[in-house]
Assembly symmetry: D3
C-alpha cells in the first residue's frame, strides 16, 4: 500500500496556506464563503454537509478534495456506514469512475480513523 | 420565465423509459443499482441521499439530473431550507458555475413545490 | 416532444462555420486534426470511431457534440443496436448523468434515421 | 436562429438574484470572492480576467457562465479579435466540445455587441 | 520512468474489492450493470467496448479508469494500432488534456503488453 | 515536499513524444492547432494565452496540463503576480477544487522559476 492520505491532507493544507499568502484577498473571501456554507440556515448539520462535499469530490474526481472533506467528515463524527452510503450516491451518479474514486475515499477514511 | 421544470421532468422520464425499452438489461441493472443505493445500510435517510444526488447534479452541471433529483428530494420531504443548504455546498465546491446551476435548481424546486 | 435534433444539428453546423470564418487558422487546423483521426492507421473503421466519439460526448454531457456525432455515426451506417450498445458503455462509465444524456442521444438517433 | 443570449443573460441575473435572496450569507460571500478576484494585485486588467473566465466557461461547457462572462468581457471593452483568440485557447485545451461551445460564445458576443 | 501501471491496476482492484466488502448491495448491482453492458444485444464485440471505455476514461481524465480499461482491452486482444486510434478519437474530442492522458494510456498499454 | 514539477514536466514531454511517434498524423495536426492558437490574429500576447491555458487546466483539474502550461507561461515571462491573478479567476469559476489545484500550480510555478 503506497498511499498515505493523512500525509496528503497535510500537504494540501500546506499548499493552500501558501496560496493564501500569495492571494490573501481572494483566499480570505473563499474562507468566508466556506464558513458561510456551514452556517447558512442550519437545517442540515455540518457532518451531513461534509459528507455531501465528499460525495461531490468523488463525483468530480478531485483527490485532494476527497482527502480534505474525508478528514472534515471524520472530524464531525461521520461513521463508516454514513460515509459508505454517501459513496453509494456518488456511484449512482457517476458509474465506474466514481467506483474507483470511492475506493480511494474509503481507503482514506479507514487510514484517518485508525 | 420560459422554463417549465415539471414538463422537463416528464420529458426526462419519457426518454429514459424509451431507453430502457431499447437496452433492457443495462437499464434494468442500472435500476437495481439506484435501488440499492437507497437501501444500502440505511444510516442516511432517502431525503438526505436525494439532496446529495441533487448537489452532485449541480456540481457536474447536468440539468436533467437536477430536475430529476429535485423532484425526488421534494417527494422525500426536503424543505426549501435544506434544499438551499445543499446548493450552498455545491457552490463551495464549484464556484460560479455552481451558482448559475443552483439558481436553476432553486427555480425548479419552487415550481415543483407550488 | 419539443426537441428537434435535426434542426439542432443544422444550427451547430451553421455556428461552427461562423466560428471558422472568424478563426480560420485555428479552425482549419482543427479540421485537419478531425480528418487525421479518421485516417490514422485505419484499424478501426469510421463507424466505430464515430460511435466512440458519440459515447464520449454522452460521457461529458455535451449535447451539441451528441447531435453532431450521432449524425455522423448514422452516415457511416451505425445500426440502432450498435448505437445503443455504445450508450451502454457510457452508462457503465457515467451512471445517472449518462443515462439521461443517452436517453437524449437515442431520441436524436431515432429522429435522424426516420 | 432561435437563441437570444441577451434574454438568457437577463434570466441568469434574475435567477441568481432569487438564489441570493434565499442564501444571503453564502451568496454575499461569493460576491465578495468575485469582487476580490478583480482587485487582487491588479497585474492583469479586468478585460483580460473576464476573457479568461469566458474561456474557462467554454472549457467546462457552462452555457449560462458563457453568457455571463461574455457580457462582462464586452463591458470591459473586449474586441472580437481578443474574444476569438480566447476561444482559440479553449479549443486547444478542449477539442471538439470547445469548438461547439466556442461557436455559441461567438454567436452570443455578436448578438450582445450589436 | 516512475510509473508502474501494472502495479497501479492491482492497487485499483484491491481497493475496489475493499469497497465491495463495505457496500455489497451497491457494488453487486454495479457489477451486474458492468456485466450487462458486455452482453446487451452483442452487435459490438467486447474489445471494441473496452476500447470505447478506455477512450471515455481518457476524455474524463480518470487515471485509474484508464489503467483498468487498458488492461481489459488488452485482455480482449486489442492491438496497439487499435488502441492508438481510440486515443486519437479522445484527442479530437478533448484537445490538450486528452493528449497528456492519451500519452499516459499508451505508456500503460506498452507496459502491460510487454 | 514530495512533488518535483520540473521532473513531471519532462515526463509529460517524453510521454507526448512517444505518443507522437505512434500517432504521427493526429499529433502532427494537434501541433499545427496549438501553433495556430498562438498566431491567430495576435491581439492577445503569448504570455496571456498561456496564463489562460493554465487557468483552464486548473479549472478542469488536469495536473499534467497545469505543469505544461505553467512552464510555458514562465517561458513567456509571466510574473508571479500575473500567475496568481490567473489562479484567482479559476477559483472564482471553480471553488474548492480550483483552490487545491491552484495551490499545486503555485507550487509548480515557484519550483520552476527558482
Amino acid at each position: 500500500m503506497s498511499e498515505n492520505y493523512s500525509e496528503q491532507a497535510k500537504a494540501v493544507d500546506q499548499r493552500v496556506k501558501t496560496l493564501a499568502g500569495a492571494a490573501p484577498k481572494v483566499m480570505g473571501a473563499y474562507g468566508q464563503l466556506a464558513g458561510a456554507v456551514m452556517t447558512e440556515a442550519g437545517s442540515l448539520d455540518s457532518k451531513t454537509k461534509e459528507l455531501m462535499a465528499m460525495a461531490i469530490s468523488v463525483s468530480i474526481r478531485c483527490e485532494d478534495c476527497i482527502v480534505y472533506h474525508t478528514q472534515a467528515a471524520i472530524k464531525y463524527g461521520a461513521s463508516e456506514a454514513e460515509f459508505v452510503e454517501s459513496l453509494a450516491v456518488a456511484v449512482e451518479l457517476g458509474g465506474g469512475p466514481s467506483v474507483v474514486y470511492s475506493a480511494k475515499a474509503l481507503q482514506a477514511f479507514r487510514q484517518m480513523v485508525a
